[in-house]
Amino acid sequence: MNKQTTFSVAALLLIATSFAGPVVAADSKSPAAAAVPVTAAAAAPAGEISKEQAIEMALKAHPGEVSKAYQDSKKGIKTWEVKISGADGKKWELHYEIKTGALVSEEGK
């Protein structure tokens, strides 16, 4: 085996091992997401809310401009996180549980 081949093999091995951890982690944290794909338009089970609904609820609580809204997690609960640059000058972060629409966390800084 020449040096270049050794280097390439080493490169592949290292890249593979560095990413082995996150793959396992990603698998272990999202079994629910894999089983029930959460899309806004899908025929959702009763109680489940879409990202748009979460944004609507967040804006009602804290009027302002939505800077980001995405699927996140809070204390192991799958949530929609909505970030708002509030009309009150504060930056708000709200988490709504995807399954029930319940407010999980609300922080203003």
Binding site: L14, S18, A25, A26, K68, S73
Partner: protein, 203 residues
């Protein structure tokens, strides 16, 4: 293939070089995806993607740190801690000579470079540990989720601050590391960046 200069010798093994450049890539990815400096760009990308990038990059850094620790004991000569970790007194004496432009050239890491590696590994470890704690305490994900499930919001804020401080300390050290590389490259008239790519240095 270009003929290799016979006066050049192999110093950095492929794993040390890969470790170095993948670590740089992973750290930059993590910083780009959550660092406040890039907030403007982040707002244009999906939050799920940024979150995923940050966590993956963090796990990659964690894996790389574990690998480097192991390689520091079983790797080839210049990869070993025993080759580049000097007593603090010797390191300070070397630093003095660096400043007076009289520092001797080392084929492997010089005492100052060796000390830089140790503090960089430590500050990266602090960044990773606080990151994993935050991931577990706040989001309830990752290996520490079970352990930190009951963490209150004040503590979570403290962990977030510690994570940020460790990141900034790492950035500061990276700056000092770059300064050291340029300084030594000029002092000894050799391209140390290229050496970390090709693995070869002048004998």
């Amino acid at each position: 293939m270009r003929a290799i200069d016979s006066t050049q010798i192999k110093v950095w093994d492929p794993f040390v070089r890969l470790f170095h450049w993948i670590l740089l890539g992973a750290f930059c990815t993590a910083y780009f995806s959550e660092g406040e400096v890039f907030e403007g760009l982040q707002e244009r990308l999906p939050g799920e993607l940024l979150q995923g990038m940050h966590v993956w990059a963090g796990y990659a850094v964690a894996g790389l740190l574990l690998f480097r620790l192991w390689w520091g004991f079983i790797g080839p000569r210049h990869a070993r801690f025993s080759d580049f970790v000097y007593r603090p007194g010797a390191t300070l004496a070397y630093l003095k000579r660096v400043l007076t432009l009289t520092a001797p050239r080392h084929l492997g890491h010089n005492p100052a470079g060796g000390a830089m590696i140790v503090v960089l590994l430590l500050s990266l470890t602090a960044t990773i540990v606080t990151g994993l704690m935050l991931y577990g305490a706040d989001k309830g994900l990752g290996p520490l989720a079970g352990l930190l499930a009951e963490t209150g919001s004040a503590t979570i804020d403290g962990i977030a601050e510690a994570h940020e401080m460790a990141t900034n300390a790492t950035l500061l050290l990276v700056g000092a590391h770059l300064l050291g590389v340029v300084w030594e490259s000029v002092l000894h008239r050799e391209n140390l960046v290229r050496a970390m790519i090709t693995g070869r240095k002048r004998a």
